[in-house]
Symmetry: C2
Subunit: 303 residues, 2 copies
């Protein structure tokens, strides 16, 4: 058991509706994925940072027992940086500044010790880079991919190849609509499942939960109810971590496993939202996750 994750590691500067700014906190898909997936399966990281990336954040990854053999620390580069501001509803945000740094010229290499990973999560990245990861894998890993709107618009051919080589996909509502050209989200989820011959697709709707599409059926699920969201940054990547690691641990895909994966994913995503950056997620235990999962499964049961 092990999940290879390929994605970004960032230094985020996040301004909240209150006006408070949190500078250079750990961010990027990998950071959240590591801190959520490790509860359920070991994580192997392929990513890049600059020398400016604080050692204490790397120590945080190590406390999650992440294997960092695929983490390139580029001597003369700077870490990917994102600056954003949340609107009062805490669901929408503006990007105020982006600096790709080491990611601009990153050539990801999968270490030999990672090439037999049974599961691969391709967080959002340039589709050609995602394909480069897959080309370095041996065997037939379970591949789950994510993407964002810019690659759907501008790298569609490569992206289609990535999705066709994946068994599962995790996308949000606006990305899914853009991919399908369809308004209805249920039709979108089922249509993409069929079109790309995926084993499963999860369409995320943020605070509204999401839709699991599996074997031509749609299974809707709500999000964990939070009366206060401290910071939704990384909720989707944390969700992916809980989901993909649960599938890796189970070593199979069936409805029961997928639902357990959705449950774990929902729980770790909710913890991610309860603190700025990783401040809450990095402090919860597996027992905390299990307790919340049990209560949430009871709360959403309808009979």
């Amino acid at each position: 058991m092990a999940v290879l994750t390929f994605g970004s590691i960032a230094l985020d500067t996040i301004t909240m509706p209150s006006g408070k700014t949190h500078r250079n906190v750990p961010g990027g898909s990998c950071s959240y994925f590591i801190h959520s997936a490790h509860f359920y399966s070991p994580v192997r990281v392929v990513a890049a940072v600059g020398r400016d990336f604080p050692k204490k954040y790397l120590d945080g990854f190590r406390r999650c027992r992440a294997d960092l053999a695929g983490l390139q620390v580029i001597p003369d580069g700077t870490t990917f940086r994102w600056e954003g501001t949340y609107l009062p509803d805490m669901n929408n945000r503006t990007t105020d500044s982006l600096s790709f740094g080491v990611l601009a010229s990153f050539q990801p290499v999968v270490p030999a010790s990672f090439q037999d990973s049974p599961t691969v999560f391709l967080a959002c990245a340039i589709p050609a880079m995602q394909l480069r990861i897959l080309s370095q894998m041996r065997g037939k890993p379970l591949v789950v991919c994510d993407t964002i709107e810019v690659y759907i618009r501008e790298n569609r051919q490569d992206l289609d190849k990535v999705i066709r080589r994946s068994q599962g996909m995790i996308v949000n509502d606006s990305e899914a609509r853009l991919l399908s050209g369809e308004d209805n989200l249920v039709a979108t989820a089922l249509g993409l499942l069929r079109k790309y011959r995926l084993e499963f697709l999860v369409l995320k709707k943020g605070e509204h939960g999401g839709i699991l599409a599996y074997q031509n059926q749609a299974y809707p699920f709500p999000a964990y109810p939070l009366a206060k969201v401290a910071d939704p940054t990384g909720a989707g990547d944390s969700f992916a971590g809980g989901l993909v690691a649960t599938l890796d641990q189970a070593k199979k895909i069936d409805l029961k496993t997928l639902k357990k994966a959705i449950l774990n994913a929902t729980v770790v995503a909710s913890f991610a939202c309860e603190g700025v950056s990783l401040s809450r997620l990095s402090r919860v235990s597996l027992a905390d996750c299990r307790e919340r999962a049990k209560k949430f499964a009871q709360a959403v049961s309808l009979g």
Copy 2:
């Protein structure tokens, strides 16, 4: 067991994104409520129509065994009419024309035979009219109310009285936010529950399901997944019908009953959306409802 419902009966003219227009189809909160609630409990109607309201639609109400003793047919009046157009996403719509007709001067009277009804549903109406209904009731019925934004903005004092005299409330997300002045929907649902000392509140989110607030806890639930929505008009009133009638039948309010009510409500609302106006809802059977409820409860179960 019986639910008194006070609300509107309308003739709707609905234009779909395809451009197709359905003229003078039955609408209004009562019409949908009758056709959904009757599966679970007998319905008593307090409403008004004009002479122009087609007999075949009244026959439809009678087939639901609705007691129409409180239905005033105003000889020289016209039925409330609404004309609207759905946008391509089928979630948003424009109101193109409104004609209140008999509702402009309607003085609702609760017949003596209705005054002991154990349950009352106050569909959205001028709050003073909702209070007039309550003042005519004997005993201590279970009261569940609904409202819309215009009354929150313009009749707040009367509306507050209505809500304080209710045990339950069903509102949609935008109405709930306007009532609470709060963005977060979970905090909104829990805050309104506390503020108005309600036994329960259901915050509806359309295609995203909703949140049940009960005993200071939030229970999120998804909507039934529909890959094609024929007409969402009346989905909320159908939801209310399934919910309130289930509570009336159970004669108690506890978490298990509320969840069963949410399940029945979700199912009848989904049938309402599958046909224009009442075309689908009026053709399903209790067995159809039970079958869909069973499948849906299984689909949303997370463990």
